[in-house]
């Protein structure tokens, strides 16, 4: 005989069981102070196990963080390296600009001032390259025809004359230094008494004798001309290229010609051409 199942009884039992569970859930909610000695015992018994596991896990995570985050760290590293490069570049540019500013200030304050030069507009320029060949003593400035520069414009530095523009591109200009034999400057030597002696200053760096690594300046005089070592050499303003009274150099030495008719003054230029970084181009347009 099959055993009879009391379905109603089971349903009532389940209903009350569910009701009891729901009431229990409601009464032991988050905001209730339900006394839970079993839970407290479990917690206190298991916490000594939980703590070292968590610590161990933390240590593993911290020590292997670089492995899990390798891609992120790599991306960050690449981004930071780019940033460093960019900032280094910015820093160098800023430093260069500060130094150039200081040099221009020095240049602008001027070691020499003369009324002739003040008439002309001057444009500051930086040396961007020097002649890569040994044939000419030239350098390239970062100003060109766009800035109104023309060929034959004089170029001056803080201490004195540098040379003249011989070639102009829209953004650059090539300057022939006065050291080069191709460029000659009409000059006068002003003695200690203030009297002037005219002549031609010529670079010793010549196309035919390029074996001398460093150019120099020289000036020819008659034997009776009163020129002595230490005298200042200035531009004469004759010839239409250079304005008057721009310092060129100092007479370093006088050499007598073997014929006895002439003497040569070796001139030490005031400008240090090797360390030159900034210059002014004097715009002669319309003057």
């Amino acid at each position: 005989m099959r055993k009879r199942v009391n379905v109603t009884g089971i349903a009532v039992l389940i209903f009350f069981l569910l009701l009891g569970v729901l009431i229990s859930i409601r009464l032991t909610g988050l905001d209730t102070n339900f006394p839970n000695p079993v839970g407290g015992f479990l917690q206190s018994a298991l916490s000594p196990l939980e703590k070292p596991i968590l610590q161990f896990g933390n240590e593993i995570r911290d020590n292997t963080k670089v492995i899990w985050d390798f891609h992120t760290v790599q991306l960050q590293n690449e981004a930071l390296l780019k940033k460093v490069d960019q900032l280094t570049g910015d820093n160098i540019i800023l430093k260069e600009q500060v130094l150039a500013g200081m040099r221009f200030t020095k240049l602008d304050q001027g070691q020499f001032r003369n009324p002739t030069l003040n008439k002309y507009e001057k444009i500051g320029a930086s040396v961007i390259s020097r002649n890569p060949t040994t044939w000419y003593r030239t350098l390239t400035l970062n100003r060109g025809s766009k800035d109104g520069i023309q060929a034959n414009d004089p170029v001056i530095g803080a201490m004195g004359l540098i040379g003249k523009v011989v070639f102009v591109s829209p953004t650059t200009s090539e300057v022939l230094l006065i050291l080069d034999g191709e460029g000659q400057v009409s000059a006068l030597v002003r003695g200690s008494a203030g009297n002037g002696t005219f002549g031609i200053v010529q670079g010793t760096y010549k196309r035919g004798s390029r074996l001398t690594p460093e150019g120099n300046l020289q000036m020819l005089f008659r034997r009776e001309d009163n020129v002595n070592a230490g005298d200042l050499v200035l531009t004469a303003g004759i010839g239409g290229v250079y304005p008057k009274d721009i310092p060129i150099g100092k007479v370093m030495e006088i050499k007598l010609d073997p014929t006895g008719l002439l003497k040569t003054a070796i001139i030490d230029p005031l400008v240090n051409f090797d360390t030159l970084e900034e210059a002014y181009i004097v715009k002669m347009e319309g003057k």
Binding site: V21, I25, F34, N36, L46, L49, I53, L54
Partner: protein
């Protein structure tokens, strides 16, 4: 030995989600190890034993958590019942089926917890509930290929072997 092992597994199921799986959580989702263990136990026991283990495991978890006493008791009892019912019909040696079963039963269990929580006054958005249910079920299912072969072998031939008074 058998009861000792089950007790250790129960305790580990309480400890591990808060410790080890704290580091292996996916977007804050951890597996419900006790539910997984209850499913395994129910699959290898008779109906009354399964429900008994489910009730015991649930009560243990309720006390361990210290709130909403009865929530896990009821849930794990139902989970055990459902697992037993499914294991009777599905071939439990098939690990793929078992994985799917664990996903299904865990989802039912988690949905039940969510509804009981809503009944207890918790206000969770449906989207969050769905995300949690799917996430926990998926995580539990992922653990099956790693844990089930060992546990199953132990329940059939090893230390966890269940010896019922009457053969099924």
């Amino acid at each position: 030995m058998r009861y000792g092992l089950i007790a250790i597994m129960f305790l580990l199921s309480l400890i591990l989600p808060g410790t080890v799986f704290h580091f292996w959580s996916w977007a804050g989702i951890k597996p419900d190890l006790l539910m997984l263990l209850t499913i395994y136990i129910a699959m290898h026991h008779r109906l009354s034993s399964s429900v008994f283990w489910g009730l015991g495991a649930g009560l243990l978890k309720d006390f361990f958590l210290g709130r909403h006493i009865g929530m896990y008791t009821l849930t794990l009892a139902v989970v055990a019942l459902l697992s037993y019912w499914l294991a009777e019909r599905w071939y439990r040696e098939n690990f793929v089926l078992t994985t799917f079963m664990v996903f299904l039963v865990t989802a039912v269990g988690q949905i039940m917890i969510a509804f009981l929580s809503l009944g207890a006054g918790l206000k969770w958005p449906l989207l969050d509930i769905g995300r949690l249910v799917i996430g926990i079920s998926f995580y539990n299912a992922v653990l099956v290929p790693i844990t089930y072969p060992l546990i199953h072998r132990s329940f059939v031939r090893g230390w966890l072997r269940y010896k019922p008074r009457y053969e099924r």
